[in-house]
């Protein structure tokens, strides 16, 4: 009954696919952002699990996970700013209505 690497990878795979499905099906820009956060979290779980179970130089995964968290926070801040600007211009965050750059 020991918990191995595969257990963590399976949980992360389920989280990744759930985030992907959220990104594909939601039309609200902030909903899509929530899906992105789920995907990034799944990737980070993978990094830390590999770091724990496999790395001889074991801190590499954790450091990479820290950088992923930094990037995710920066991305969320900018994306929410963009969403609010889109809402100011179009009165909605429906991504199908933000089509003024369509050719």
């Amino acid at each position: 009954m020991t918990i191995g690497l595969t257990h963590y990878l399976i949980v992360a795979a389920i989280m990744f696919v759930a985030g992907l499905f959220t990104m594909m099906t939601k039309r609200n820009a902030i909903g899509i952002l929530i899906g992105v956060e789920l995907v990034l979290n799944a990737a980070t779980v993978n990094l830390v699990a590999f770091d724990r179970y496999m790395g001889p130089d074991r801190l590499d995964g954790q450091i990479t996970a820290i950088f992923v968290i930094v990037l995710a926070a920066a991305e969320a801040a900018l994306a929410v700013g963009i969403c609010i600007n889109v809402y100011k211009n179009l009165s909605t965050v429906d991504v199908d209505r933000a089509n003024s750059l369509r050719g």
Partner: protein, 209 residues
């Protein structure tokens, strides 16, 4: 009226269920730091660890599915809180104490609040369309199910190159040292990136004409 009440009650219930995973972390932190002191790599934890992992994994999976199947953006945020909290507990189980704390501070404390503020500022809209057409949902479901199936098959079949040795957990001191020696350049680049993001966010949020 009853509908509103019901919604509120179910939201609160889900919040409590999701918060249960997070509340575990304090007891788990002590457990993980105790386990990380053990240098013998043979048996880290045993039954308690397994039970805790299965509980946290259940919370993570249910919260993730809740995120992708709920119809309301605030509920999605609440479910995301459950997923982020259970991921933090998973970090503690993986003896990554520092990352668990960072996860709780940055994600649950910062990113999620930011998302909720975004929801509040953009919620009033004359065009409320949340879901995509059924046919697109069907295609997305097929793609995601196929991807999940492939991933599960590969992950359960794979034999990893290294042996499954469990190394003792790293201290915060070791992380700090490696961050300013081996990873100094990425560290500085991340600092520059954060400054760029700060300037960009201020630029996006400015009130002009």
């Amino acid at each position: 009226m009853t509908n509103t009440k019901h919604n509120l009650t179910s939201c609160l219930l889900r919040l409590v269920v999701a918060g249960g995973g997070v509340l575990l972390f304090s007891s788990q932190a002590a457990f993980a730091s105790e386990a990380s002191g053990v240098t013998n790599a043979a048996a880290p934890g045993g039954l308690l660890e397994a039970a805790l992992f299965y509980f946290v994994a259940l919370v993570a999976v249910v919260s993730s599915l809740g995120v992708c199947f709920s119809k309301d953006i605030v509920r999605m945020a609440v479910w995301l809180f459950g997923a982020l909290g259970s991921v933090a507990v998973m970090y503690f189980l993986l003896a990554a104490n520092f990352l668990g704390a960072i996860q709780l501070i940055v994600y649950a404390g910062g990113t999620l609040i930011l998302l909720v503020f975004g929801v509040m500022l953009t919620s009033k809209s004359p065009w409320v369309k949340f879901e995509c057409p059924k046919i697109e949902m069907l295609f997305a479901g097929i793609i995601c199910a196929a991807l999940l199936g492939c991933l599960c098959i590969v992950l359960t079949d794979a034999t990893w190159a290294g042996t499954m040795q469990v190394v003792p957990g790293a201290s915060v001191e070791a992380i700090g040292k490696i961050l300013i020696t081996k990873y100094l350049v990425p560290f500085e680049v991340a600092g520059v990136l954060l400054m760029i993001v700060m300037v960009g966010a201020a630029h996006l949020a400015r009130q002009d004409d």
